[in-house]
Amino acid sequence: VSARRGRDPGAVLAHALEERRILVVCGSGGVGKTTTAAALGLEAARRGRRALVCTIDPSRRLATSLGLTQLTGKPRALDIRRFDPAEGGTLHAMTLDTQGTFDGLVERYAPSSEAKKRILGNRFYREVSAALAGSHEYMAMEKLLDLSEDERFDLVVLDTPPTRHALDFLEAPERLTAFLDTSVLRFFLKPYFLAGRLTIKVATKTGALALRLVDRFLGLDFLRDLSEFFLAFEGMYDGFKERASRVHDLLRDETAAFLLVSNPAPSVLAEALYFHRRLREKEMPLLGIVVNRVHPAENRSRARTTAGRTVKVRPELGQKLVSLLRDEQAVARAERKSLQRLEVETGLTPLLVPEMESDVHDLRALREVAAVLFGGLEAGNGASAAGARR
């Protein structure tokens, strides 16, 4: 079920919040992905689900949007009583602790405590799992699998890093296994390591070349760390592989869905189209597209309907009001054009969220976002959200 043209995208999303187990929120940077993910989590909890919002982004965005200063790798319960949740509804939030997840994985799959110690103490492992870019994606999928099996939650809303990295993230299971796979590095590193010196027989000529290349560029010590690392992982590949393929299945399952978030700036929508294409190539179930911060001039007609007392303003003020309006309209026109293109090219009706009256960074404001997303059905604070749509 997706927000195909002609369907009400808000209803599609509401249905997903009640039915799905995993919602992956993706899109390029700065479009309000995290805010959307948090608002969805809150709305799901209000509808009686036990929701968890998890962010992969190493920045503190999710904490900020929830009005918190910090989140950790452990789910933290949020107090949502004042939003009148349905029976049993809860909301938790957490951020991904890359190092902790990786360590946990090693602990789970290491064949012996000796192997475990070797890996955890390996220099390459320490730097790779903690500091280097890319590890977040490797571990995100792993965590997702864990969380999907966690009985405390029946819905996981996953906030992903900006577009290009989100693609890394989709490919992470394959890449992790490719990296750790026997057929990649291990096959030429292992003989090297066992021989303990440079002049060794390697299985293939290409392997020998690649080995020489690695040695030349990275040096012997690094090579030793690397070999140790791969050797230490021996016996764990099958576990990793098995989990990677389960993540793969999990994301293509009907209980999971992707939601693309964008804003109406033409350059950002172009990026959303790219993302849409990639999701389709990967056969990921795309639910719909949320477009945040649509310029209010889009909804100009609403203002027309409010009857006002006819007043004549001073010409200087009048001129400035006209120029403010014209400026807004120029932006709105550009937005409208891009939105039309988005709809035609994706065949999906985007769910438009107007710019809010205030910056969204606490639960109350999130509630307003949710009210807008789901048609402002509930009373609550919906009034001011409706105000934003004016």
Binding site: G29, G30, V31, P58, S59, R60, R61, T64, S65, R126, V128, A130, A131, L132, A133, G134, S135, P161, P162, L176, A178, F179, K205, G207, L209, A210, L213, D215, R216, L218, G219, F222, D225, P266, S267, A270, E271, Y274, P296, A297, A303, R304, T306, G308, R309, V311, K312, V313, K320, L321, V322, S323, L324, L325, E328, A330, V331, E357, D359, H361
Partner: protein, 319 residues
């Protein structure tokens, strides 16, 4: 020339970082134009950017090929795999061998999977570009290189890679390159880290976070702060008061052909709200960042082109 711009333009490398969607690309283009207008040969480096800065200058996308989009103003959109391939080709002098390595699936998969390798290669390439010399006098080919770094979160990870790699790889050319890159980033005489944000909570929080982490964990001190997309005063104080009074009285009626007063007043209220946010975050950045700050205006335009870039370049010059 204004002090801040002069300060930035006297470096070899300006690294722009900030949350996604804050307009780093546009700020980078404006900075490049400002540099060009002051007679500098300037190179703007983007990384895997889907929509390139070149379009702001009315030029066609340049892709991974370094191109002179205006006299003395070059741009390139680096593709990580391409940079890595180039590195292999440059290191393995024998064509045949290089080709065999490049064609090997092992190499492809290693490159795709090895964490941090992409980032290291890209930063290495930026360093090589910075070091390029031409002519008999061996003058730098570029007076200034501007790097539009990936968004924070990952941008920070990006800048951390040389440090992590120099620790993980104690010897060999890759390790020593990592240390050279780190030295370049840390050298305030050669490199200026410029943090870009917009007047919004999350962008500002992340920007301040970036500033702190870059200093504490990587040893790179930010040089300047750019607050982009600021809403600047359009109405006088009296006019603002008047607009609020009229709104409270639910004033309406025709304003101009096709426009109604109530719409105009709603636009004025939106404008005032955005002004307020701009002022609030500007004050916060001044207080917390303690860095030279430039504010750039929000542009109400259907398309951003060379005129808009020039406008922002002018503003950078006034700072």
């Amino acid at each position: 020339v204004a002090p801040l711009l002069e300060d930035l333009l006297s470096r070899r490398l300006v690294v722009l970082s900030g949350k996604g969607g804050v307009g780093k690309s546009l700020v980078g283009t404006a900075l490049a134009m400002a540099a060009r207008e002051r007679g500098k040969n300037v190179l703007l480096v983007e990384i895997d950017s889907p929509v390139e800065a070149a379009r702001y200058l009315g030029a066609a996308p340049v892709g991974p090929v370094l191109s002179e989009v205006r006299p003395g103003l070059f741009t390139v959109n680096l593709d990580p795999q391409g940079v890595m391939d180039e590195y292999v080709r440059g290191s393995v002098k024998l064509d045949l061998i290089a080709r065999r390595i490049l064609e090997s699936p092992i190499y492809r998969r290693f490159f795709a999977a090895a964490p941090g390798l992409k980032e290291l290669m890209l930063l290495g390439k930026v360093m090589v570009l910075e070091e390029e010399r031409t002519g008999l006098a061996r003058r730098p080919r570029f007076d200034l290189v501007i790097l539009d770094a990936p968004a924070t979160g990952h941008g920070l990870q990006f800048l951390k890679v040389p440090l992590a790699a120099s620790r993980a790889i104690p010897v060999g050319p890759v390790g020593s390159n990592a240390r050279r890159i780190l030295a370049l980033l840390r050298d305030p005489a050669r490199t200026a880290l410029v943090i870009v944000a917009i007047p919004e909570e999350m962008a500002v929080v992340e920007a301040l976070d970036l500033q702190r982490t870059a200093a504490d964990e990587i040893g790179v001190k930010a040089r300047a702060f750019v607050l982009n997309a600021c809403h600047e005063r359009r109405l006088t104080e009296e006019q603002e008061a008047e607009a609020l009074r009229l709104s409270a009285r639910k004033a309406g009626g025709p304003l101009a052909p096709g426009l109604r007063l109530e719409e105009g007043l709603a636009a004025a209220r939106r404008h005032m709200r955005k002004r307020k946010l701009t002022r609030f975050y500007e004050a916060r950045v001044r207080r917390s960042a303690r860095l030279p700050l430039v504010t750039l205006p929000y542009l109400f335009r259907e398309e951003i082109g060379p005129d808009e870039v020039r406008l922002l370049a002018g503003r950078l010059g006034e700072a």
